[in-house]
């Protein structure tokens, strides 16, 4: 296994674990919504804190990478792109797309949060 494939395999697992932890936040948010307006307002104060905004940025970046790398895996499963040079090129694509997508989503979150009424 080359250094590239080793690194991309570990990154896919690491971002997967990050998203697994993100599910805890998702369910916390869903519980808050299910607990009524007052309980939701209390939870929202926590969920809107700067520390959690940073966590969302990490989650969005992990989502972007795991999405791009996951699609690469799905393509591999069809039997395509498995040659060494193809695999190296697609690893570059995954990182490029992940960085651009992560940047776009994080900017959207920051600007959207600022413009919210």
């Amino acid at each position: 296994m080359s250094r590239y494939s080793l690194l991309s395999s570990i990154s896919n697992r690491a971002t997967g674990i990050v998203l697994t932890c993100g599910q805890l936040l998702l369910v916390y948010w869903l519980i808050a919504a299910a607990s009524g307006a007052q309980a939701y307002a209390r939870a929202a104060a926590v969920l809107a804190s700067p520390a959690l905004k940073a966590v969302y940025a990490v989650l969005l970046a992990a989502f972007a990478y795991h999405l791009a790398a996951g699609i690469r895996h799905l393509v591999w499963d069809t039997g395509h792109g498995l040659a060494r040079d193809q695999s190296r090129r697609s690893a570059g694509w995954v990182i490029t797309i992940a960085v651009l997508l992560a940047a776009a989503l994080i900017v959207w979150m920051v600007l959207g949060g600022a413009s919210a009424p």
């Binding site: 998203l19 697994t20 919504a33 939701y40 929202a44 959207g112």
Partner: protein, 128 residues
């Protein structure tokens, strides 16, 4: 000569063509999550506000509530399979491995169950 049957001797020590089930489920949930995950992220970022009224109204739609439930379920399922593979790769002692997989799987089931009930509660108007 052992009293064990031929079937008893081989059971559990090799492929019974069942391992492919998890592999296939991991792929199916991947494809579903490309759609559901993207939809969820874009929707959440696109909401004009994240206060209770906006979020609850968003969740109560006839198609968003089931889509959200599917997202919670496929997300938890995909996550459980992924975490299990990681445990299988890094924890080698059979007792610790079994325990870790059991705890992780149970945690995922609990998370999924709570998530589904929460969405249903909002969607069916249980919460004011």
């Amino acid at each position: 000569m052992s009293e064990r049957s031929a079937l008893g001797r081989v059971r559990g020590i090799g492929s019974a063509k069942e391992g492919v089930g998890d592999w296939w489920t991991q792929r199916l949930t991947s494809v579903a999550l490309v759609v559901l995950g993207s939809w969820f992220v874009v929707s959440l970022l696109g909401l004009p506000d994240h206060d209770f009224a906006t979020v609850a109204a968003w969740m109560r739609s006839w198609w968003r509530a089931p889509a959200l439930i599917l997202f919670v379920l496929t997300g938890a399922w995909h996550s459980q399979l992924g975490v299990r593979v990681i445990i299988e790769d890094y924890v080698h002692e059979i007792g610790a491995k079994t325990l870790a997989i059991g705890v992780a799987s149970f945690a995922h089931i609990v998370i999924a169950a709570i998530g589904v009930v929460a969405v249903l509660r909002v969607a069916l108007g249980g919460a004011a």
